[in-house]
């Protein structure tokens, strides 16, 4: 059975290869091929999952070594897979949500002439993401890590004729590359410390390494996670990534790829557990990002960017949870899964709205869409309730647990983190209610576009509807399923370990407070966007709002400091290379030429002057010969 593991990766990879190399003759049915590859992989995932279920806890992790990849002296990189309880959760999430989104895309991309290629990229993404979560060592994980980055790049920039899309794609890749430095340095550190970078041996030997080394590895892994999961300070690419087609935003930039950072931290729990400094950094990054994303989400009028801010914020929760250590790992993953459902659902809903609105993304041009798109409204609404943590829906189970764990962290830190998480929850409720109200409630605010076509909002085809329904069901039920009998905790504990912690507040108190702040958030939003009509043009807004619209000025900072500085540096270096280094080279040539020009003047054509040089030469010869003897 274990030898099915490579098939998981192989199916979408083969799909991608066929779709990308197959050429135009596959245009007619290529998308179904993509869906098939994805669902087949999901099927295999299910088979493996049930197979794992049937085994005892100790026997559940499965290993499959394919071949030796790069053997050089002590450096032995293997291509090997590891399917344990953690991986299988991801496998099912990736292939499951992935298949749904493939299906959705069949409808969404129906009118795009390059749909085949789109499915090829999606399949490529699935393969890379599966490789990422199935790898049994960091170097192979790195391959998947960059592979998803590539797929993300290709998909964000899928509409390449739009300069903004191309720029966004490039930005995403670059920022991710900065994070990748972290992963490479972490691997190098592991290799130079342990002589290996395979999960098992590294985790087994982690306790032998010095605190400094472990902290270094942890921080570097955190850097990598920041890049991939759009955490502060490497978060700037995610908002721009919304240039990609909406299914991409749903799958890659909400449900799966961006959560890879959480996977990385959780997978490396053995290292983080021994490196408190790295953990502290992780919770800080998570807490800051969850607030950051939430604030940005409040200010955006672009529905996808608002959701992107939300994604950032929710992943902030996960990262914070993962940083909390054994009390948080499980809930980080649990929130990751539930988030996968509801955020994917929300994005698909947003896509459906855009589909019906001629690709309009500005929420100020929506309004009252619930009448035109009832199915979208219902599924989006369920997702909305799930994300704000409405009791009983999946967000409630996962997010409350994280808030609880934050308090359980203990001490001042615990209080600060807990409070941040609560504030985040309130803001989440605010901005999601804002999105909901601006989109589906109130009066219609859409207008004819430049060419006079007025949008005719309509419900999307069933290929798009079915996935939305399925995801809505997940948004509603997944949390309860996981929480029931602590099944999720039990499932993951063998991998990540689990610790209940000692919360200063009881579980019910936390739930109560959380519910109160959520209600507050909803109320404020209703006051601002429900009770009074939404303006079609955005108000100037407060300083914070304006900053938040600009992603809290991070892009401006990047632009001035990194891009501007970089451009100046580059221009200077180009100048230096031409005038400095090449100047020296050309200068030497010119100097030789100049010397030559001066020296040849000695050759003046007068025989007597030649004789003089001979005579002088003779004198010098005689003099030096004599001098040599004297000396």
């Amino acid at each position: 059975m274990d030898n099915l593991i490579p098939v998981l990766v192989g199916l979408p990879l083969a799909g991608a290869a066929v779709l990308l190399l197959g050429g135009r003759r596959l245009d007619r049915f290529g998308h179904w091929l993509g869906v098939l590859a994805s669902t087949a992989s999901f099927g295999v995932g299910l088979v493996l999952f049930f197979d794992m279920l049937s085994r005892s806890t100790a026997q559940r992790p499965a290993f499959e070594h394919l071949f030796t990849w790069v053997p050089v002296a002590g450096f032995q990189a293997q291509v090997g897979f590891q399917l344990d309880q953690l991986s299988v959760v991801f496998v099912l999430l990736i292939t499951g949500v992935g298949s749904l989104i493939h299906l959705y895309s069949v409808g969404y991309m129906a009118h795009d002439e390059r749909r085949r290629r789109f499915f090829g990229y999606l399949n490529l993404f699935l393969a890379a993401m599966l490789l990422l979560v199935l790898a049994d060592n960091y170097l192979l994980l790195y391959v998947g890590w960059e592979g998803v980055g590539l797929a993300s790049y290709l998909l964000i920039g899928f509409w390449q004729h739009k300069p903004s899309a191309a720029t966004a794609a490039k930005k995403a890749f670059l920022v991710n590359r900065v994070g990748d430095i972290g992963l490479s340095v972490a691997i190098m550190l592991m290799f130079s410390t342990f002589g290996t970078f395979a999960f098992g041996p590294v985790f087994g030997a982690a306790h032998t390494a010095s605190q400094g080394t472990l902290t270094g590895i942890g921080l570097m892994l955190l850097l990598a996670a920041c890049g991939k999961s759009a955490q502060v300070p490497l978060q700037s690419w995610l908002g721009d990534a919304m240039e990609g087609p909406t299914p991409v935003s749903a799958l890659i930039h909400a449900a799966t790829m961006v959560t890879a950072g959480v996977y990385l931290i959780t997978r490396s729990s053995a290292v983080f557990n021994l490196a408190p400094t790295a953990q502290l950094a992780t919770v800080c990054v998570g807490a800051v990002t969850l607030l950051f994303g939430a604030i940005v989400g409040c200010a955006k009028d672009d529905i996808k960017k608002a959701l992107a801010g939300s994604t950032m914020s929710q992943i902030g929760y996960m990262v914070m949870a993962a940083g909390l250590g054994p009390i948080g790992y499980v809930f980080a993953i649990m929130h990751l899964v539930t988030h996968g459902f509801f955020k994917a659902g929300l994005f698909l809903g947003a896509g459906s709205v855009m589909h019906g609105m001629n690709d309009e993304v500005d929420m100020r041009r929506y309004g009252g869409l619930r009448k035109h798109m009832p199915l979208t409204f219902v599924t989006f609404g369920l997702g909305y309730l799930a994300i704000i943590g409405f009791p009983g829906l999946s967000g409630y189970f996962s997010k409350d647990k994280i808030i609880e764990a934050a308090f359980a962290h203990g001490g001042t830190e615990g209080w600060i983190l807990g409070t941040a998480a609560l504030v985040g929850a309130a803001v989440t409720a605010f901005y999601m209610t804002r999105v909901m109200l601006m989109t589906f409630f109130g009066e219609k605010r859409w207008q004819p576009d430049a060419e006079g076509h007025e949008p005719h909002p309509h419900e999307s085809p069933s290929t798009m509807g079915i996935p939305m329904v399925v995801l809505a069901v997940g948004s509603v039920g997944a949390g309860a399923l996981f929480a029931w009998n602590s099944s999720f905790v039990k499932w993951l504990t063998p991998v990540t370990g689990h610790d209940e912690g000692h919360s200063p507040l009881s579980s019910w108190t936390v739930s109560g407070i959380t519910f109160a702040v959520i209600a507050l958030g909803v109320l404020v939003a209703w006051t601002m966007y429900g009770r009074q009509p939404v303006q079609a043009t955005p108000p100037v807004g407060s300083l914070l709002t304006r900053a938040a619209r600009r992603d809290l000025l991070q892009d401006d900072f990047n632009h001035v400091v990194l891009v501007g500085g970089g451009q100046h540096l580059t221009r200077f270096l180009v100048y230096l290379d031409a005038k400095g280094f090449d100047g020296v080279v050309n200068g030497i040539a010119a100097a030789v030429g100049g010397t030559s020009g001066r020296m040849r003047k000695l050759q003046n054509g007068y025989v007597r002057s030649y004789a003089l040089s001979m005579f002088g030469g003779a004198l010098v010869l005689v003099a030096t010969t004599l001098l040599m003897r004297a000396v």
């Binding site: 040849r600 003047k601 050759q603 003046n604 054509g605 007068y606 025989v607 007597r608 004789a611 005579f615």
Partner: protein
């Protein structure tokens, strides 16, 4: 007289010849100066011959004379042909080739 004085004389003649080559313009005079240098050498040779008490130096002096004569033949031929072309025996006029 001390034979060494002849050496001094030879050196003096040689220097006069060399200086003449440097300062005179007329090709013939220039050449005569070279001849003077050769003869200075002859004087030195003969003096050394006497100092060493063997005849080599004197014989060499004869050879030198022959060589000088041959040189005159060739030199005058060249100088004369140049003179006929340029109507000038000044060596400073022959400076078409330089740099």
């Amino acid at each position: 007289m001390n034979p060494v004085n002849y050496l001094y004389l030879a050196a003096l003649l040689f220097t006069i010849g060399a200086t003449g080559v440097l300062v005179r313009r007329n090709a013939i005079v220039l050449f005569m100066c070279v001849e003077l240098m050769l003869n200075a050498s002859n004087l030195a040779l003969v003096t050394f011959s006497r100092l060493h008490g063997n005849l080599d130096g004197q014989i060499i002096a004869f050879f030198t004379m022959v060589v000088a004569a041959a040189e005159v033949v060739v030199g005058l031929a060249i100088i004369v042909s140049v003179f006929r072309t340029r109507h000038s025996a000044s060596v400073d006029d022959t400076n078409l080739m330089k740099l």
